[in-house]
């Protein structure tokens, strides 16, 4: 009986592995079918394949491009003709930011309404930024400011990384 038990065990293990693979494949296929079918019939469907680029997405309903090239942002900075708003967290801002930039964390924008937003001129040139090609904090902040009536708002995509890479002026805790 003991021998029989041990000789059967590998069969059960293989049976279990086979079951696992079959069921996994079936669940995945079912999910793909459901996902595709529901997307086909729902009114607010999205394309199955789409080109994803942050610059392409930074377009307002009026067709205005929000993204500003690094060169233009650097020129405005050099002319002292722009306010940079850092949409990242205070901790990230504290570790380093574009020189002269003001911290306006998107996740707690309400707390900064009086201390930052109320002090800004609605006609002033404003550039919002965060970090990473896909970071949407700066985009969200820019749209928010536009809704508030700020007329000249731009977004510098992947700003913090690009700014450092091009050795443009920054402020860090050690500087």
């Amino acid at each position: 009986m003991l021998l029989k038990t041990y000789s059967l065990a590998p069969t059960l293990v293989w049976h279990h592995i086979g079951n696992t693979v079959r069921q996994t494949v079936f669940i995945i296929l079912l999910s793909m079918a459901l996902g595709a079918a529901v997307n086909l019939i729902r009114p607010d469907s999205i394309p199955f394949v789409e080109t994803w680029s942050m610059v392409d997405k930074l377009v307002t309903e009026d067709g205005e491009t929000l993204a500003i090239p690094l060169e233009d942002a650097a020129d405005l900075f050099a002319d002292n003709a722009v306010v940079f708003l850092d949409a990242r967290t205070p901790a990230e801002y504290g570790q380093g930011h574009i020189q002269g930039a003001v911290n306006l964390p998107w996740h707690e924008v309400d707390n900064y309404f009086e201390t930052v937003i109320m002090t800004l001129d609605t006609e002033a040139m404003i550039i919002t930024y965060c970090d990473g090609e896909a970071c949407s904090l700066s985009h969200d902040l820019a749209m928010f400011l536009k809704d508030l009536g700020f007329t000249r708002v731009k977004v510098l995509v992947n700003a913090w990384t690009l700014w450092k890479e091009h050795d443009l002026p920054i402020s860090t805790p050690s500087s």
Binding site: T24, S31, L34, P47, R88, T89
Partner: protein, 160 residues
């Protein structure tokens, strides 16, 4: 012939049902908002910056349904071997993604339980929560293995 279950088996049975119900709730709850807002979830997937652009929407369309399907399997106690293995693989992937983005210092939305970009930012707590769910899922995989390979010599069925 019916055998009386040992206290060890009772503990395994309780652990099995508790774990599968918890993970079922996690996956079903996580899928709802993403299914309702595929466009927002696609943005969350894109923000992770780990997939090529052409896979972003496909992932955003299929992943929530995968979560719902396997969550339902866990809930109704069917196809458990596949569902528990998939749960463990998904949780391992999610933990990996969160670790990767925390290491890169990206400030992005988790997209774990809400598709909205302003909610649920990725933090160390998110990582700890997902590691706990990964441990639960791996436990379920182990319990399924024990259940399906321990029948020989035992007349009663473990955690029916």
């Amino acid at each position: 012939m019916l055998q009386k279950k040992s206290s060890h088996d009772v503990a395994l049975t309780i652990g099995y049902h508790f774990t599968r119900l918890v993970m079922s709730g996690v996956f079903i709850y996580a899928s709802i908002d993403k299914i309702i807002h595929p466009d927002l979830f696609a943005q969350a997937v894109y923000n992770y910056q780990v997939l090529p652009g052409y896979l972003v929407n496909l992932t955003a369309l299929i992943l929530p349904w995968l979560e719902l399907t396997l969550g339902t399997c866990l809930l109704i106690n069917r196809w458990m071997a596949g569902a528990s293995a998939l749960a463990a693989v998904l949780m391992a992937l999610f933990v990996g993604m969160i670790l990767f983005n925390l290491a890169r210092g990206l400030d992005i939305s988790c997209g774990c339980f809400s598709a909205a970009p302003d909610e649920d930012p990725v933090t160390v707590l998110t990582l700890a929560r997902d590691i706990l769910f990964l441990i639960f899922s791996l436990g379920l995989v182990g319990l399924m293995f024990v259940k399906n390979t321990r029948r020989v010599g035992n007349t009663h069925k473990l955690y029916p």
